[in-house]
Amino acid sequence: MVTKRIIPCLDVRDGMVVKGKNFLGIREIADPVELARFYNDSGADELVFYDITASAEGRGLFTDVLERVAREVFIPLTVGGSINTVADFDRVLKCGADKVSVNSGAIRNPQLITDGAKRYGSQCVVLSMDIKRVDGQFRLFAKGGREDTGIDAIEWARQGIARGAGELVVNSIDTDGVRGGFDIELLEKICAFSTVPVIASGGAGNMEHFLDLFKKIPNIDAGLAASIFHLKEVAINDLKKYLSENGIEMRLKYDR
């Protein structure tokens, strides 16, 4: 059967990965190609790159980074950030991306999901959603989680699938950065109806949180995290070994 996936997420600004703050509060950055190679060697099942630069110049740097990574690392690569048009799909796919993640661009223009799916296939279109509880409702946020759209996030997920999204990334703003575990309540709600793979994001603080996720929601497909991997608090090969020993199907490294 298909294994559960562990996915590190890399935010790229001006050609470098922003790793977050270390325990001394100092902002750390890293070379994306080196980091991608490191994660590939430690057993990551996929890599997600978010372009967090705003300038056109930064965008050029980003595709350059992407191309360099894709020449070195041969696992699926998902790319997001500033994807607003089908031309943006084309730009990143040409540089070696396999899937394109849309978020705010799809909120502004939902047709982007359909157009991307028609042109490149649903398997290529990932709908990424930033979700937060507001007035007892799961609310969809835009612009990196800064703007409440007033849209019901569960309904948005349903629509996204109907429009042709081939995968969902569910990022809980409520649990993000708290490191108290994934947002099981939200994820369960979406997994209950999703006919496409669902990737859990936001809240992972230790290995037990991943086990809890896969045990509590058997049909969830992947767990995504950033800082705990970047700051080497959790090593991906240790995590996968731990999950495998606890009955979760994982792709493990083979001794040659």
Binding site: R5, F74, P197
Partner: protein, 203 residues
């Protein structure tokens, strides 16, 4: 030299990069002479069967490719390129394939429980049934490869070298003489995938 058939489907960036990584010389081409001169041929492909077959036919290369395969040139289809090797597919109505390998390409959704997601997407283990398969020279039982597909080959048991389990047995590697195919993406399957490409390059 490995010739990758260029017939306007799919993105060949990763395939070219992975062949380069293992030190194999590769060229993307639709020139019949280049195909004749090549030591080996790879038929890539993503998308829908009928559309891809139409595009391949419109290059005018089909008779030439059939001749080269019949002459014994090592030939590998990847993903949809592998499906094209079969007699026929039932994706959006029946459509004839290249007919190199006996069997049909059918919808996964018809043969698996509705609780399982389609496409069959992600890493799945190889269950090797033909240990002598040249492509598997550097691959061990149970190694995982990366799949993305909604249709799969059926009625081709005698040609299958390795399966993956997805409630039904999905042929992962097939072979008929010099013609072989991978349903998964070796260019996206990490070390295991590179080793499969390396084995093909060494055939």
């Amino acid at each position: 030299m490995i010739a990758i058939v260029d017939y306007g489907v799919g993105n060949l960036f990763s395939l070219c990069a992975s062949l380069k990584k293992i030190g194999a010389e590769a060229i993307v081409t639709r020139d019949p002479e280049v195909l004749t001169k090549a030591d080996k041929i790879i038929l890539p492909g993503v998308g829908a069967f009928g559309d891809a077959m139409d595009k391949l036919e419109s290059t005018g290369l089909v008779p030439h490719i059939k001749k080269l395969a019949a002459e014994g040139k090592p030939f590998m289809g990847i993903c949809l390129g592998m499906q094209l090797l079969f007699d026929r597919s039932f994706e959006f109505g029946e459509k004839q394939g290249l007919g190199f390998i006996k069997g049909s390409v059918c919808a996964l959704a018809d043969d698996i429980p509705t609780t399982l997601k389609v496409p069959h997407m992600g890493w799945n283990a190889l269950d090797i049934v033909a240990p002598d398969e040249p492509l598997l020279k550097y691959v061990k039982q149970g190694e995982c490869v990366y799949y993305v597909h909604s249709f799969y080959a059926k009625d081709c048991d005698e040609s299958v070298a390795a399966y993956s389990e997805y409630s039904t047995r999905v042929p992962g590697i097939v072979r008929q003489g010099n013609v072989c195919g991978c349903q998964f993406h070796p260019e996206k399957s990490g070390e295991t995938g590179l080793n499969i490409l390396r084995a093909f390059a060494e055939v």
